[in-house]
Symmetry: C2
Subunit: 119 residues, 2 copies
Amino acid sequence: MPKPLHHPKRSQIALSAVLEALSDPIRRVIVQRLSHNGERSCSAFLSYASKTNLSYHLARLRTAGLVRIRPEGTCRMLSLRADDVEARFPGLLRAVLASAGVEGARPARRTRSSRGSSS
Amino acid sequence: MPKPLHHPKRSQIALSAVLEALSDPIRRVIVQRLSHNGERSCSAFLSYASKTNLSYHLARLRTAGLVRIRPEGTCRMLSLRADDVEARFPGLLRAVLASAGVEGARPARRTRSSRGSSS
DNA sequence: GTTGTGGTTCAATAATCATTGAACAAGGGA
DNA sequence: TCCCTTGTTCAATGATTATTGAACCACAAC
């Protein structure tokens, strides 16, 4: 595919764009799987969204600087730009990915001490 | 003011909502100033947005679980729910606030080694 | 060449977001 | 009491988002 597929360089990665990209559950799952399993083809994520919609979400991850997309024959390989993001926003990706796994796990069992805590 | 001003309890704070709330620069500045200076009145942030608009942004921070709003006489006091957010998503707030300060600082001086790197 | 597969682009949609001005509500003085 | 300050709610607006289907493009195999 000829379209240059623009990626922001490390210094251009913006916090707003990164947080916005990570605020979507679908995109967070993609980032998480890339973080665990390394490089994957686009089609590996077709279970999370339709072809067109997936393309949209991947473009958002790419333009935010979270993901690199490399053409390989007829398909495209995705990889997480973990080093770039870590260099720019230290600890951010780690914190989000760690939290993403637990998110919504238990309904926060009502213990005696939490009975009337937070509003 | 009588309206109960709903706050989510700690276990209800959702990652998507937190990231979404923090993805806006205005809201990030507010969170940062609360983190540095502690409790502040709403009106302390009128320099960042109009009265109505500020009320909107504060409501988003509140419903996301990032901020607590407490009526005090004729004004309202804002405080960061740093402990709740930290308990739920460890390291997240720290990472965002640390990065927020540096964001967009230097225009990334073009060194020889960065000349044609990314993208 | 033709066909198939992997992905993107385009146009359209419904929903949400950010921003504004006008109106309203609840204290706290004078 | 009448104001003034602080802040919210409402309605409207323009911009952006997420999602879809149809069309398209590039490569690879036949």
